[in-house]
C-alpha cells in the first residue's frame, strides 16, 4: 500500500473543516453541504482500513513515518491495530451523524460549528493513529480546543463555567503525563517512539510514577470516579452535537490511552495498582448508578449513565485477560453508538420543548410514536439488553471479572439492575403516561433527518448486538499483543 490512508483519515476532516471556515457564514447552506461532504469523505477514506485490515497480525498496520521535529527526533509516526481501527470507524460515523444532526438546529455561526466538529474528528483520528508519544500528546491535547469552543459558544446558559471546568480539569489531568513522556524520551535515549517505550526497561518505582501521571490524564478523560464531575456539567451545557461527540468518542481517548500507553509502558505498575483501578471502576458502576437514578435532568442522567458504563471499560482493562480487554473495547464501541443515540434522543426533545427536565415531559409517545419506539430500543440497549450492543461488552467484562473475584463480578453485575432502573424509570416518566401538558400535546414526530440519524444508530446497535463476532475478530491479535506487552516482569527482566 503506497497510499497514505491514515494521513487521509486524519487530515481529510481537518482540511474539510478549514475549507468550511474559509467559506464562512455568508452562505450557511454551502457551509453545511461542504461540511457534510467533508465528513462523508472522512468516512469513505476510513472504509478501506476495514477492508484491507489484516486480522491475523499483531503488528501495527498502514504505518507511515516521517521526521517532524528532527532536532528532537520527533516523528510523524502513525499506524493502527484492531482497537484503533474500530475507534476510528466509530469516530468517522459519529462525525457524519453529528453534522447531519446540526443541520437545522444550529443557526448561528454555522460554518464555525461545522468546522469545529470536522477538525475535532481529524484530531481524534490522530490520537487513535499516533505511534509517536509527542504526536499522541499533541493530538490528545488539541482535541480540547474544538470541544472547548463547542461548549463555550453553542452551549447552554451556564456554558462558560462548564467549558472552563472541562478545559482546566482535563488539561490539569494531562500535564503530568507530558512530564512522564519527557522522562521516557530521555530514558529511551532520545526517542518518542511508543514502540521504543514498550521495550524500555524501567524499575517498579519509576513505573509507578509514570503510571500515576498517565492515570491522572486518562482517568479524567474516561472519566473515572472521583474525577468525573466535569462530565455532567459539560454534557448539560454542551449542544446536542457536542454531547454526542463527547460521549461517543472523546471519552474513549481515556480508555484508549490506558491500553496504548499505560499497560504496555508500565506493565508492572499496572499490575501493582490494578486493585486500586478496579475499586474505582466498581465504585463508578455502583455509586454512579445510584446517582444517575435521582437525576432530574435527562442529560445529566445520561451523563452519569455514561460514567457508569465507562466503569466497565476500566474494569475490563485492569482484569488483564483477553476477555476483559476485548469486552472493554467492545463496550467502548457500543457505548459510542448508544450514548450518541441517547443524547440525540434528548436533543430531539430539547429542540422541540427547550427543556431537559424530566418533570416537564410525560406522555410523549402519544404524539411521537416513532420516536418512542426508537428511544425504547436505545433505552433497552443502555440497560444492557441482550441482542443489543450494550450487552456484549458488559457480558465479556463480567465473565472476565468472575475469574478474578466473585465479589467483583457481583458488584459489576449490579449494573443489570441499576442500568435498567435509571434508564427505564426516566423513559417511563418522559415517554409513557397521559399527555402531561399542552406543550407535549403540540409535539411533532421525528423529521426525516432525525429519523435517518437514529435509524442508522439503531442498525449499528442491533447488528453489533446480534452478531458481534466480526468486531471481536478484529481485536483478537491486537489484544493478545497488548497483553503480551503488559505481562508482569517483562520490563523488570530486561533491566537486569
Amino acid at each position: 500500500m503506497n497510499l497514505p490512508i491514515l494521513s487521509l483519515v486524519i487530515w481529510t476532516p481537518i482540511f474539510a473543516g478549514l475549507a468550511v471556515l474559509f467559506i464562512g457564514d455568508r452562505n450557511p447552506r454551502a457551509a453545511r453541504i461542504i461540511a457534510l461532504l467533508g465528513s462523508i469523505a472522512g468516512l469513505l477514506v476510513a472504509l478501506p482500513l476495514w477492508c484491507l485490515f489484516d486480522i491475523k497480525t499483531p503488528e501495527f498496520q498502514f504505518v507511515e513515518s516521517a521526521p517532524w521535529i528532527a532536532a528532537f527526533n520527533v516523528n510523524y509516526h502513525v499506524g493502527i491495530d484492531g482497537m484503533s481501527l474500530l475507534l476510528i470507524l466509530l469516530n468517522c460515523i459519529t462525525t457524519v451523524l453529528v453534522i447531519i444532526a446540526g443541520w437545522e438546529v444550529i443557526k448561528e455561526r454555522v460554518s464555525q460549528y461545522m468546522a469545529a466538529f470536522l477538525i475535532l474528528s481529524g484530531l481524534m483520528n490522530g490520537v487513535f493513529c499516533a505511534l509517536d508519544a509527542l504526536l499522541f500528546y499533541v493530538f490528545f491535547e488539541a482535541t480540547l480546543i474544538p470541544m472547548f469552543i463547542i461548549i463555550g459558544v453553542w452551549g447552554g446558559p451556564n456554558r462558560v463555567y462548564a467549558a472552563v471546568k472541562f478545559f482546566l480539569y482535563t488539561l490539569m489531568g494531562s500535564l503530568l503525563s507530558l512530564v512522564a513522556l519527557i522522562y521516557l524520551y530521555n530514558a529511551a535515549g532520545g526517542s518518542f517512539s511508543l514502540l521504543h517505550f514498550y521495550d524500555l526497561p524501567l524499575t517498579l518505582n519509576v513505573q509507578i510514577a509514570i503510571f500515576s501521571a498517565f492515570m491522572l490524564a486518562f482517568a479524567v478523560k474516561v472519566p473515572m470516579w472521583p474525577v468525573h464531575t466535569w462530565l455532567p456539567d459539560a454534557h448539560v451545557e454542551a449542544p446536542t452535537g457536542g454531547s454526542v461527540v463527547l460521549a461517543a468518542v472523546m471519552l474513549k481517548l481515556g480508555g484508549y490511552g490506558f491500553l496504548r500507553l499505560s499497560l504496555p509502558i508500565t506493565p508492572d505498575a499496572s499490575h501493582e495498582l490494578a486493585g486500586f483501578v478496579i475499586a474505582l471502576s466498581l465504585l463508578a458502576v455502583v455509586y454512579i448508578g445510584l446517582v444517575a437514578l435521582v437525576q432530574a435532568d435527562m442529560k445529566k442522567l445520561i451523563a452519569y449513565s455514561s460514567i457508569s458504563h465507562m466503569g466497565f471499560v476500566t474494569l475490563g482493562i485492569f482484569i488483564f485477560s483477553v476477555q476483559g480487554i476485548e469486552g472493554a473495547i467492545l463496550q467502548m464501541i457500543s457505548h459510542g453508538f448508544i450514548s450518541a443515540a441517547m443524547f440525540l434522543c434528548v436533543g430531539v426533545l430539547y429542540d422541540r420543548m427547550h427543556t431537559r427536565m424530566i418533570a416537564d415531559y410525560g406522555g410523549v409517545v402519544n404524539r411521537m410514536p416513532v420516536f418512542a419506539a426508537l428511544f425504547m430500543l436505545f433505552a433497552m440497549a443502555n440497560a444492557g439488553l441482550p441482542g443489543t450492543s450494550g450487552f456484549v461488552g458488559e457480558w465479556l467484562v463480567i465473565l472476565a471479572t468472575m475469574k478474578v473475584s466473585f465479589w467483583y463480578a457481583v458488584l459489576g453485575a449490579t449494573t443489570l439492575i441499576f442500568g435498567a432502573a435509571y434508564t427505564l424509570w426516566m423513559y417511563k416518566r418522559v415517554v409513557f403516561g397521559e399527555i402531561a401538558n399542552p406543550h407535549v400535546a403540540e409535539l411533532n414526530d421525528l423529521s426525516r433527518r432525525e429519523f435517518f440519524i437514529l435509524a442508522v444508530l439503531a442498525l449499528f446497535v442491533l447488528v453489533m448486538g446480534l452478531y458481534p463476532a466480526p468486531f471481536g475478530a478484529v481485536l483478537h491479535e491486537s489484544v493478545n499483543e497488548i497483553l503480551r506487552l503488559a505481562a508482569p516482569g517483562r520490563k523488570l527482566l530486561i533491566g537486569l
Partner: protein
C-alpha cells in the same frame, strides 16, 4: 428437518416484524391474517418436529458463532429433544389460540397491529429460549421475553398503573437475571463452555469442587451455581420473594396474561431447571432450596387468592401457587412431573385467563367479581369452559390438573420419606395449598357465574349498541373457539400421564440421580389412569381439595351472605392477605426508596459538596485567593520594589556575614 427447526421461530419473527414495522401502513385485517397465518405455519412445523422427536430423532447443533473471545465460543444453536419439542408444541399452540382470541378481545383497540407484533415477537423469543442449546442463548431468550412482557404489561401506556407495573416487572426480573448471569459466568469459568451437552457431561467431575465465597467457608461449586441460576428462575417464574411483579402484570391486556403470565413465559424458570437437571441433581442443598422456595410460594400465594375480588387477580395468584407446585416438584427431583404440570397448567390456566377475558368483555371491562354474579345463563360457553378450567386447577379428578398435581404431591411425599431436607415443610405447604386451591377455584366460578346478578343492566337504555350497561352476552366465535380448543386438553391431557411422567418420555433430556428414587418408585406404583383416580378418592389431597371446593359452594351458593360476615370477623387475617403480606410496601420503602435516598445522598454529599465543592471549586478558590494575595506584591511602584530589594540585600548580607564569623 433442520430447516423446519428454523421455521418454527422465524415464522413468528417475520410476522412480528411485518406487523410491527408496518403497523401504521397496513390494515388490522392484514396484520392479524399475516401473523396468524405465520403462527399456523410455526405450529404445524412444531408439530412435525415433535413427531420427529418422538421417533427418536434429536438434534444438537450450532447456527452461527455469535462471538469468540479467548477460549470461549459463544454460539447460537438449537437443541431439539423431548424437553424442547414439548415446550415448542405448547408455546406455539397456546400462542396460536391467543392470536385468534386477540381478534375478538382487542378489535376496538387503536394499538391492534402493535399488539399482534408484540405477541408474535414474544413467541419468537420464547421459542429461541426453549430451543437453545447453550446458556447464552437461553439468557438471550430469557431477557427478550422479559422485554416483550415489559412492552405488553405497559401496552396501554397512558394508564399510570400499567406503566408502574411494567417497570416493576422488568426491574424485579432484572434482580433475578442478576443472579442468573452470575450463575452463567460461574459455569463458563469452571466448565470452559456454555454448551449444555458439554457442561452436563463434565458436571459429575466437578461435583466435588468447592469455591470460597466468604473467606474460610468452602461451598460446593455446584450448589452456588445452581442457586444463582435458580435466582433467575425465581424472577421469571415469580417465586417468593421475587413474585411481586406477577399480580401487577395483570394490568396488561388479558390475552397476554394468558399467554405470557400464565402459560408460557412464567414457566421458563421451570423449564430451565428441568433442562439443568444434570447440574441440580448433583447438589442436594440447591434442590432443597428450590423445594422450600416452591413450597412457600405455593401455599402463601394460594391464601391470597382466596380473598381477591378482581377476577384476573384471583387467577394471577392461583398461577403463582401453581408455579410453586412446579418448583416444588423440581426440588423433589420430579422433573417430569413438573414439566407435565407445566403443560396441563398451560392449558387450564389459559382457559381460565381467556375465560376471565371473555367475562371482562361481556362486562364492558369490569373486573370486580362483586359486580358480577349469575353470568352462567348469559355466557354459557365461557361458563362451561371456565368450570372445566377451575376443576382442573383445583386438582380434582378426572381433569388434567389432578394428575399432574397429585403426582407432585406424591413426589414430595416420597422425598419426605427419603429424608430430603425441607420436604416435610413442603408437604405441609402443598396440602394446605390444595385445600386453598379447591376453595379459590370454585369461589371464582360460583361468585362470578352463580348467585344473584349484581351487575348494573341499565334496563332503561339497554340497547347493546350503546356499549356500556347492556345485559352481558356471549363473546364472538374468535373468543369462544380458542376457549373450547384449550378446554379439550384441559380435560384430557392428564390421561397421558402414564407415558409422559411414568414412561420414558423425556428420555435422556432429564437426568435424575440414582439416589433420588422417588419418581421411579411412583412409576412402579402406577397402574393406569383409572386406578389412579379411584385410588385418589381415599387420599388426603382429594379430601382437602373437596373440602375447599365444598366450602366455596357453601359460602357462595348456599349462604351467600356469609363471606361478608366472615370477612368482618377475620378482619386481621384478611387485612394481611389483602396487603399481600406487605411485600409491596416493603419493597417500595426499602428498595425503591432506599436506592433513591442513597443515590440522592451520594450525589449531594459526594459529588456536589465534597468533590466539586471542596476539591474542584475549592482549589479554584484557593488559587484565586492566593493570587489576590500575591498580586499585592506586584504593586507597580518602583519604591516598593526598591524597598524590597534593599531588605533582601540586607538579609543576604547579614546571613553571609554571620556565616563567615
Amino acid at each position: 428437518m433442520q430447516k423446519l427447526y428454523l421455521l418454527v421461530p422465524l415464522a413468528p419473527l417475520a410476522g412480528a416484524l411485518l406487523s410491527g414495522l408496518l403497523c401504521r401502513k397496513i390494515s388490522n385485517r392484514v396484520a392479524h391474517s399475516v401473523t396468524i397465518l405465520l403462527m399456523i405455519v410455526s405450529t404445524v412445523a412444531a408439530a412435525f418436529v415433535f413427531r420427529d422427536v418422538l421417533d427418536g430423532h434429536t438434534f444438537n447443533g450450532a447456527l452461527y458463532t455469535w462471538l469468540e473471545s479467548e477460549s470461549a465460543h459463544f454460539e447460537v444453536g438449537f437443541l431439539i429433544d423431548q424437553l424442547s419439542a414439548t415446550m415448542m408444541l405448547v408455546v406455539t399452540f397456546v400462542s396460536l389460540m391467543v392470536h385468534v382470541y386477540t381478534i375478538g378481545y382487542m378489535h376496538e383497540d387503536p394499538g391492534y397491529n402493535r399488539f399482534f407484533s408484540y405477541i408474535s415477537l414474544f413467541t419468537f423469543s420464547m421459542l429461541m429460549l426453549v430451543m437453545s442449546n447453550n446458556f447464552l442463548q437461553l439468557f438471550f431468550g430469557w431477557e427478550a421475553v422479559g422485554l416483550v412482557s415489559y412492552l405488553l404489561i405497559g401496552f396501554w401506556y397512558t394508564r399510570p398503573t400499567a406503566i408502574y407495573a411494567n417497570l416493576k416487572a422488568f426491574l424485579v426480573n432484572r434482580v433475578g437475571d442478576f443472579g442468573f448471569l452470575l450463575g452463567i459466568a460461574l459455569v463458563l469459568m469452571y466448565f470452559g463452555t456454555l454448551d449444555y451437552a458439554r457442561v452436563f457431561a463434565q458436571a459429575p467431575t466437578l461435583a466435588a469442587n468447592t469455591i470460597e465465597i466468604f473467606p474460610g467457608h468452602a461451598w460446593s461449586l455446584l450448589t452456588v451455581t445452581c442457586i444463582l441460576l435458580f435466582i433467575g428462575a425465581m424472577g421469571k417464574s415469580a417465586q417468593f420473594p421475587l413474585h411481586v411483579w406477577l399480580p401487577d402484570s395483570m394490568e396488561g391486556p388479558t390475552p397476554i396474561s394468558a399467554l405470557i403470565h400464565a402459560a408460557t413465559m412464567v414457566t421458563a424458570g421451570i423449564f430451565m431447571v428441568s433442562r439443568m437437571s444434570p447440574l441440580f441433581e448433583l447438589s442436594q442443598t440447591a434442590l432443597s432450596f428450590v423445594l422450600v422456595i416452591g413450597a412457600i410460594t405455593t401455599f402463601f400465594m394460594a391464601l391470597i387468592a382466596m380473598t381477591q375480588f378482581d377476577i384476573k387477580r384471583v387467577v394471577a395468584y392461583s398461577t403463582l401457587s401453581q408455579l410453586g407446585y412446579m418448583t416444588m416438584a423440581l426440588g423433589a427431583s420430579a422433573y417430569s412431573a413438573a414439566m407435565f404440570h407445566l403443560v396441563t397448567h398451560a392449558f387450564f390456566k389459559a382457559v381460565l385467563f381467556l375465560g376471565a377475558g371473555s367475562v371482562i368483555i361481556a362486562m364492558h371491562h369490569e373486573q370486580d367479581m362483586r359486580k358480577m354474579g349469575g353470568l352462567r345463563k348469559y355466557l354459557p360457553v365461557t361458563y362451561l369452559t371456565m368450570l372445566i378450567g377451575a376443576w382442573a386447577n383445583a386438582g380434582l379428578p378426572p381433569f388434567a390438573g389432578f394428575f399432574s398435581k397429585d403426582t407432585i404431591i406424591e413426589a414430595v411425599h416420597a422425598a419426605y420419606s427419603a429424608g430430603v431436607p425441607g420436604a416435610g415443610f413442603a408437604l405441609l405447604c402443598a396440602l394446605g395449598a390444595v385445600c386453598a386451591g379447591g376453595f379459590y377455584s370454585f369461589r371464582l366460578v360460583f361468585y362470578a357465574f352463580h348467585g344473584k346478578e349484581r351487575f348494573d343492566t341499565h334496563a332503561s337504555h339497554g340497547h347493546e349498541e350503546h356499549g356500556h350497561g347492556g345485559t352481558p352476552h356471549e363473546s364472538p366465535l374468535v373468543v369462544t373457539i380458542p376457549l373450547i380448543l384449550l378446554a379439550i386438553p384441559s380435560v384430557c391431557a392428564g390421561w397421558l400421564i402414564g407415558t409422559v411422567v411414568f414412561g420414558d418420555y423425556f428420555g435422556s433430556s432429564i437426568f435424575i440421580a440414582p439416589e433420588h428414587g422417588g419418581m421411579a418408585k411412583l412409576a412402579e406404583e402406577f397402574h393406569g389412569v383409572l386406578p389412579m383416580i379411584l385410588h385418589s378418592f381415599t387420599t388426603l389431597p382429594f379430601a382437602l381439595a373437596l373440602a375447599g371446593a365444598g366450602s366455596a359452594f357453601y359460602l357462595y351458593i348456599v349462604k351467600p351472605d356469609l363471606p361478608a360476615v366472615l370477612r368482618a370477623k377475620l378482619g386481621f387475617i384478611v387485612r394481611i392477605l389483602d396487603d399481600k403480606y406487605g411485600f409491596d410496601r416493603f419493597n417500595d420503602w426499602f428498595f425503591a426508596g432506599g436506592a433513591r435516598g442513597l443515590g440522592g445522598g451520594l450525589w449531594k454529599i459526594g459529588d456536589i459538596t465534597i468533590i466539586d465543592g471542596f476539591f474542584v471549586n475549592g482549589s479554584a478558590r484557593v488559587i484565586g485567593w492566593s493570587s489576590t494575595v500575591i498580586r499585592q506584591f506586584q504593586s507597580g511602584y518602583i519604591y516598593h520594589y526598591a524597598f524590597a530589594m534593599i531588605i533582601g540585600i540586607l538579609l543576604l548580607l547579614s546571613l553571609l556575614l554571620s556565616g563567615s564569623v
